[in-house]
C-alpha cells in the first residue's frame, strides 16, 4: 500500500536540515507522497527507512525489461486507467511465434518477416519487438537448436515458452546473455523456474488459472527476490481476457495491490483460429492494457495496422507527435508544381499529404516546424505567422526546385497573405481551402 505523507514523515530523520531542498521533513514527506520528490534527495535517511519507503514508493505496476542493449523492451510502469488522465507509458511488445515443431522453411519465413517488416512514420521506426520460441516437440536439444538459430538470425528480444524447467534451461543455455523472458512459471514448476530466472537474472512470466492463483504465485516469486515479472491470468476467451486486463490494472492502481502490479502477456492466437480475428483481438489488447502481445503469426497487412495503432494510443496526449520540417515531394512534382505550406503537427501533415496524394496532382508541401501545433493553434500562438513562414520558405531551397513564385497557404491563415507578400518580395500568395478535404478540386484547377 502507498504510504501517506504522515506515515512517510514518521520514517524520516525529522531534523529539518533542509538539505533535500525543502525547509522541513514534513514538507519533504508530503512531496514524496505526491511523487514530486525522490527519497535519494535526503542524505540522512536510515537504511531501514529507505527499505520501507522504497518498497512503498515503488510504482504500482512494476516495469519489466526483456532483452539487452538497443532492442531491450521495457514494459509496465503504467500509472493510469485512461490515457487522457496522463498518458500510457510503455508500448506493449509485439511478438511473433516460432515453434520447434515447425519446419525450417516456416521458421525462416517468420524470422524474415520479423526482420524486414518495419515502417518509418513521423521519424520513428515501427517494428515488432520479440520472438516467442515455443517448445512443442518436447525435445530439449531441438529447442536449444532453434533458440540458437533465432539468436543468430535476429537481435530481437526472446521469449522462451515451455512449462518444463529442463527445456527452459536448455533454451537458456543458448540465450541467457540475451535476457529472455521465461514463459512460464506455473503452480507446478514455480520453484524450479524461479531458480532459473534468478540464476540467469532473467525476466519471468507467471501463468495461472485465474487472478487469485496468479496473485499467490507472484507473491512467491517476489518472496524469492524476483522483480522482473510478467503475468498471464490464463484467460483464453475474449471477454474474460479483457475483464482480467481491466481488473489487473485497476486493482494495482486503485487498490495498490502489489501481487497484480506487473505488466501482462496475452495470446490472441489462443482465442481464435482465424488470423484476421486474431489481429482484431490484438488491437483490443493494445488499447486495453497488455504488456506483451504474442501473435501466432503476422504479415504486413496485420502488423502494420497494429504498429500504427500502438503508436497512436501511446502518444502522450500532452505532447502531440510532430513531423520533421522540410520540403515534401508528393506525386513526383516538377518545376511547375504547386507549393503549399502547412504546420508540422503530425496529424495535419498526414491529412494534408494524404489529400494531396489522393488528388494525384504533383505537388510540393513545405512543412514548417510549429512545435507540433496545428495550423490554427500555432498561428494563434504566433508560431505560424508571415515573418516566420516567409524566411523559412526562402531559405528552404525550394526556389531551386520550382520556376514560379507562388505559395498556397492554408485558408485558416488567410490574414497572413498581405504580410507574406511583404516578407517574400515578388511572390504571389494564394489562399487555399480551409479544410484539406477540399484540396483536390483546388489543386486540379491550380495553374502555375
Amino acid at each position: 500500500m502507498a504510504l501517506t505523507g504522515i506515515e512517510i514523515f514518521k520514517l524520516l530523520p525529522k531534523t529539518n536540515c533542509g538539505e533535500c531542498g525543502v525547509p522541513t521533513c514534513l514538507a519533504f514527506a508530503m512531496n514524496l507522497a505526491a511523487a514530486k520528490a525522490e527519497l535519494t534527495a535526503c542524505p540522512h535517511v536510515s537504511d531501514e527507512a529507505k527499505e520501507k519507503l522504497s518498497e512503498a514508493s515503488a510504482p504500482p505496476i512494476l516495469p519489466a525489461t526483456i532483452g539487452v542493449g538497443d532492442r531491450a523492451l521495457k514494459i509496465g510502469g503504467e500509472t493510469v486507467m485512461f490515457r487522457h488522465e496522463k498518458r500510457f507509458e510503455n508500448p506493449p511488445g509485439l511478438a511473433i511465434l516460432v515453434s520447434d515443431s515447425m519446419d525450417d522453411a516456416e521458421v525462416d519465413a517468420r524470422l524474415k518477416r520479423f526482420k524486414t517488416l518495419e515502417y518509418e512514420r513521423v521519424g520513428l521506426t515501427l517494428r515488432p519487438d520479440l520472438i516467442a520460441i515455443k517448445a512443442d516437440s518436447g525435445d530439449a536439444a531441438k529447442f536449444e537448436a532453434l533458440v540458437n538459430k533465432v539468436k543468430g538470425k535476429s537481435d530481437g528480444g526472446i521469449i522462451l515458452m515451455s512449462d518444463n524447467p529442463d527445456i527452459l534451461a536448455a533454451g537458456l543455455k543458448a540465450s541467457a546473455d540475451r535476457k529472455p523472458l521465461l514463459y512460464a512459471a506455473t503452480k507446478d514448476n514455480l520453484d524450479s523456474v524461479a531458480n532459473l530466472a534468478k540464476e540467469n537474472d532473467c525476466p519471468v512470466a507467471v501463468k495461472a488459472s485465474g487472478l487469485e492463483e496468479l496473485a499467490s504465485l507472484t507473491e512467491k516469486l517476489t518472496a524469492a527476490g524476483l522483480k522482473n515479472i510478467v503475468i498471464d491470468s490464463g484467460a483464453r476467451t475474449v471477454r474474460q481476457a479483457l475483464e482480467d486486463q481491466i481488473i489487473i490494472r485497476s486493482t494495482a492502481l486503485n487498490k495498490k495491490y502489489r501481487p497484480l502490479g506487473f505488466p501482462s502477456i496475452v495470446f490472441p492466437g489462443e482465442m481464435t483460429d482465424n488470423p484476421m480475428k486474431e489481429a482484431v483481438i490484438a488491437s483490443m489488447f493494445l488499447a486495453k492494457y497488455a504488456g506483451i502481445i504474442v501473435l501466432s503469426d503476422f504479415q504486413g497487412e496485420s502488423l502494420f495496422p497494429l504498429l500504427v495503432e500502438r503508436l497512436n494510443i501511446y502518444t502522450d496526449p500532452q505532447r502531440p507527435l510532430a513531423t520533421k520540417q522540410g520540403i515534401y515531394e508528393i506525386n513526383n512534382p516538377d518545376e511547375n508544381a504547386p507549393l503549399m505550406v502547412t504546420s508540422n503537427f503530425s496529424l495535419t501533415y498526414f491529412i494534408v499529404s494524404g489529400e494531396i496524394e489522393n488528388s494525384k496532382v504533383p505537388s510540393y508541401l513545405y512543412v514548417k516546424d510549429t512545435e507540433g501545433l496545428s495550423v490554427m493553434t500555432s498561428w494563434a500562438a504566433g508560431k505560424f505567422s508571415a515573418d516566420i513562414i516567409g524566411p523559412a520558405i526562402l531559405k528552404s531551397g525550394i526556389t531551386d526546385k520550382i520556376k514560379h513564385q507562388k505559395l498556397i497557404i492554408p485558408g485558416y491563415i488567410a490574414a497572413e497573405s498581405g504580410s507574406l507578400e511583404e516578407e517574400m518580395p515578388g511572390w504571389e500568395i494564394m489562399v487555399g481551402p480551409r479544410d484539406a478535404a477540399n484540396l483536390t478540386p483546388y489543386l486540379k484547377t491550380w495553374k502555375a
Binding site: R239, V280, M284, G300, F304, L306, V308, N438
Partner: protein, 315 residues
C-alpha cells in the same frame, strides 16, 4: 493477501433511444458501465453496425471495398437491399456524397428523392448523412426530413452552424438528430444543450464526436469518447449521456494505407486484408471507447466486429 476488485462508482446511465420504426426498429444506449465492463454494469443493447451506401457511384474506392457491391454501386436502392439481404445489415447509412458543393453538387430536392426511394424500399432504420457543408446539408436534410416525414430517419451531421434549421425540421417530422462536433467534449456538450433548448427531445438525439481512422488521429476521438463516457456515467453529466454514432468507414478507406497495393509497397502486405483490418481494428478501438453505432463498409470487417461484440458479451 486476498484482493478486492475495485468498483467504479457509477452514478449515471446512457440514454436509451429507439432508431427507426416498426419490427426492425433498433434500440441503442442504456449502458450503466464503461464499454464492455460487464463485471461492473450492463449493456442492455449491444452496439449496432449500420452499413453505408452512397447516393452516387463512389469513384475513389479501392477495389477491395467495391468488390462486395459489384453491380449495385450505381443504384442506392439495390445497394441497400444487398446490404440487408446478403450481409445482414441491421441499419443503413445513406451517404449523400452527390450533394457535395465541391463535387457533383446535386440539388436538395433531387437528393431527397433518392432518400425517399431508399427509405421506401427498406424497413431497417435509415441514417442520412450529408457532406458536412453547413448550408448544403441544411437544404438536403430539411428536404429529406419533409419528404420522408413518416420514416423516422436519423439525420446527420447536425452542427452548431445549422442545428436550428435541421433541428426544427427533425422536430417537425419526428426524425432523430445526430449532433456532430469536432473532437471536443465541451463542444459536444454545448451542442447537445443547444439542441435540447431548441426542443429536440432526449429520445431523438444521438451524438457524433467526429472520428478518424488508425493512423489519422484515432487517439483523439478515442480519448474524447472515453471522457464523454466518464462524464456521463460517473459525473452525472446528463448532457453527455447520449448514445454515440461513429461514421468511421469512410475515414478508413480514404487513407493511402488502405489503398496502396502490395505491388507498390510489399511490406504493407495484402491490400484487401489490410483495408479490412484497418476498418475492423479502428471500429474495435471505437467500440472500446463507447461507440453505440458504427457506420461501416466492408462485409468482412463487419463480420469481424460483430464477432468481437459477440465474444465480448458472451455469457
Amino acid at each position: 493477501m486476498p484482493f478486492e476488485i475495485p468498483k467504479t462508482a457509477y452514478s449515471g446511465k446512457i440514454k436509451e433511444i429507439k432508431l427507426g420504426k416498426g419490427d426492425k426498429a433498433v434500440t441503442i444506449g442504456g449502458e450503466t458501465a464503461y464499454p464492455f465492463y460487464l463485471f461492473e454494469g450492463e449493456m442492455p443493447n449491444l452496439p449496432k453496425i449500420a452499413m453505408e451506401i452512397y447516393d452516387t457511384p463512389p469513384e475513389e474506392w479501392p477495389e477491395a471495398a467495391l468488390e462486395p457491391f459489384a453491380g449495385v454501386a450505381d443504384d442506392p436502392v439495390a445497394w441497400a437491399q444487398k446490404c440487408i439481404n446478403d450481409y445482414g445489415a441491421e441499419m443503413i447509412c445513406l451517404q449523400m456524397l452527390s450533394t457535395d458543393p465541391n463535387g457533383i453538387d446535386r440539388g436538395a430536392d433531387e437528393a431527397a428523392q433518392v432518400v425517399k426511394k431508399v427509405a421506401d424500399a427498406i424497413d431497417v432504420p435509415l441514417i442520412v448523412w450529408g457532406t458536412a457543408n453547413h448550408d448544403k446539408d441544411t437544404e438536403v436534410l430539411r428536404a429529406a426530413a419533409e419528404l420522408c416525414q413518416d420514416k423516422s430517419l436519423i439525420l446527420g451531421p447536425v452542427e452548431e452552424a445549422n442545428h436550428k434549421k435541421i433541428g426544427a425540421a427533425a422536430i417537425g417530422y419526428k426524425h432523430t438528430v445526430v449532433a456532430s462536433t469536432p473532437i471536443d467534449i465541451n463542444l459536444a456538450k454545448q451542442l447537445n444543450i443547444l439542441l435540447g433548448n431548441l426542443g429536440v427531445s432526449d429520445d431523438l438525439l444521438a451524438t457524433d464526436p467526429t472520428v478518424s481512422s488508425i493512423g489519422y488521429g484515432i487517439e483523439y476521438c478515442y480519448s474524447v469518447m472515453e471522457r464523454m463516457r466518464m462524464a456521463a456515467l460517473t459525473q452525472q453529466d446528463d448532457k453527455l449521456q447520449f448514445p454515440i454514432i461513429c461514421n468511421v468507414a469512410k475515414e478508413v478507406w480514404k487513407t493511402k494505407e488502405a489503398k496502396i497495393s502490395e505491388a507498390e509497397d510489399p511490406k504493407m502486405g495484402d491490400a484487401k486484408k489490410r483495408g479490412i483490418l484497418l476498418e475492423a481494428m479502428s471500429a474495435t478501438v471505437l467500440l472500446l471507447a463507447g461507440a453505440d453505432v458504427l457506420i461501416m463498409r466492408h462485409p468482412e470487417a463487419i463480420k469481424l466486429v460483430r464477432e468481437m461484440i459477440t465474444d465480448l458479451t458472451a455469457k
